[in-house]
């Protein structure tokens, strides 16, 4: 590869309602935090350019509504994702418990190649609050069990660790991008001539 083409990374943020998905995205992209309490409608994305080593990458970050209806709507949104950010609220045990189903849901809907090694990043948000319920250790050990998912504790409100977390998101997505690039690096496409009658197969195709 002589020319380094510009890279677009598609990142999906998932997690229960009210854990701070929109706030994290806003803090990362606009460096702003709003105290407004607002349920997200459908899904929306923001982009941000980022320098990772010698590469300029554009991150397209998809914020999704945590509402139940949109959970079954993933396919169109999840497909083609390069990294998935799972968010929980460290003051809400329920949101921690849900991580597992969000992860499964994503893998089922997005259907990535090599799901075992698909890059996830887990964020424990709202560490600025005092009534914390999920200890760091507990979250870390969950992440370790899941093939060593990177874990960050963030505060979208105070901008703690947000930048760092998203940089890891970009790096991990980029690493995967490279692997796939190499796999798909065939110089000339092979053409298979169309046949009039496809050969009959025995049995069922499933």
């Amino acid at each position: 590869m002589a020319l380094r083409k510009k890279v677009l990374l598609k990142v999906i943020i998932l997690g229960d309602s009210g854990v701070g998905k929109t706030s994290l995205m806003n803090q990362f992209v606009n460096r702003k935090f709003s105290n407004q309490y607002k349920a997200t409608i459908g899904a929306d994305f923001l982009t941000k350019e980022l320098q990772i080593d010698d590469r300029l990458v554009t991150m397209q970050i998809w914020d999704t509504a945590g509402q139940e209806r949109f959970q079954s709507l993933g396919v169109a949104f999840y497909r083609g994702a390069d990294c998935c950010v799972l968010v929980m609220d460290v003051t809400s045990p329920t949101s921690f418990k849900s991580l597992e189903s969000w992860k499964d849901e994503f893998l089922i809907q997005a259907g990535p190649r090599d799901p075992e090694n698909f890059p996830f990043v887990v964020l424990g948000n709202k560490v600025d609050l005092e009534n914390r319920m999920i200890p760091t250790r507990k979250a870390q050990s969950w992440c370790q069990e899941k093939n060593n998912i990177p874990y960050y504790e963030t505060s979208a409100k105070e901008g703690v660790n947000v930048e760092k977390a998203f940089e890891t998101v970009a790096r991990n997505a980029l690493a995967r991008e490279k692997e796939i690039d190499q796999q798909a690096d065939f110089p000339i496409p092979i053409r298979i001539p169309q046949q009039e009658d496809p050969p009959k197969r025995d049995g069922c195709s499933c």
């Binding site: 229960d16 309602s17 009210g18 309490y37 607002k38 349920a39 409608i41 459908g42 899904a43 945590g66 509402q67 139940e68 209806r69 949109f70 709507l73 169109a76 949104f77 809400s92 045990p93 329920t94 418990k97 849900s98 189903s101 499964d104 849901e105 089922i108 499933c206």
Partner: protein
């Protein structure tokens, strides 16, 4: 077969065969005094129809033993979740002949209020613990109501009940009109009044209930203003049939506006005291 059909849809080829087989069994001609096959066949019919729409229930995961047990149990004791309003009413007729509204709707709504849900931050937005919500659902299906402490549990289950109705609370034939008129008060109100009677009263009860949460003194604490309430409830009241993600998201805003108009404008006094 009924149990299988609550988890796995048949392939396209097999679907035709299985439909024919089920319909042959459903007419009652093959019933024996010991085994009323047609009852099973009718359950199979319903489950087949549902699973074809929704796809495999658990994605790639195996069903648990509890889920299989429940699937078996509900052959003879149908759940009040995932049915039509008419079926729910029929189910409670002998137990509560005087009730005009579904028992499950009123008991869950009352419970949210009793647990001070109108004063809890993020009510109806923050989900309840999934296992506890499921446990509550199982109890409700046995007409019991255990005491719970977290208002998010009945709140989540209530949303789930509306969302899972076999036909949306505002039936599909009215959907387009809701979207078209989502910014006009009069047509929205008229639309509600033109709904089938049971849908109209169930919806009016729900809107009256949401009007309590929309009061300023509650919103300051819950942070769930009329916009948020409409946003989280719209998907439980209206169901967009499109597969096109773009259409779904464009409509989501309109669905929300429609519900907002109802919360702000629908006169719900007529439902006062009705159970």
């Amino acid at each position: 077969m009924a149990i299988c059909l609550s988890f796995f849809p048949p392939s396209g080829k097999f679907q035709v065969l299985i439909e024919r087989y089920i319909s042959l069994q459903a007419n009652g001609n093959v019933d024996t005094p010991e085994v009323p096959i047609s009852i099973y066949a009718k359950v199979c019919q319903k489950r087949l129809e549902k699973i074809l729409q929704t796809g495999p229930k658990k994605g790639l995961k195996k069903p648990t033993f509890e889920e299989i047990e429940l699937s078996k149990h509900t052959i003879h004791f149908p759940s009040m979740f995932g049915t039509t309003l008419e079926e729910v009413m029929a189910m409670q007729r002998t137990r509560y002949p005087e009730r005009r509204l579904p028992w499950i709707q009123t008991i869950l709504s009352d419970e949210v209020l009793r647990l001070n849900g109108a004063q809890i931050e993020g009510i109806f937005r923050v989900p309840g613990d999934l296992d506890s919500v499921n446990a509550l659902k199982v109890k409700c299906d046995q007409w019991q109501f255990p005491s719970v402490e977290d208002a998010h549990l009945p709140a989540s289950l209530l949303k789930f009940w509306y969302r899972e109705l076999a036909e949306p609370l505002i039936p599909s034939i009215f959907y387009e009109q809701c979207i078209l008129n989502c910014d006009k008060v009069e047509p929205c109100i008229r639309l509600v009044n033109s709904l089938p009677e049971i849908n109209r009263i169930v919806l009016t009860y729900l809107i009256r209930f949401l009007q309590i949460f929309a009061k300023p003194e509650n919103v300051t604490i819950t942070k769930m203003d009329v916009n948020n309430l409409s946003m989280v409830f719209a998907p439980n009241i209206l169901r967009c049939d499109s597969d096109d993600a773009k259409v779904i998201f464009e409509n989501a805003r309109k669905e929300m506006l429609f519900i907002k108009i109802l919360i702000l404008n629908l006169d719900t006094d007529s439902i006062e005291g009705v159970i």
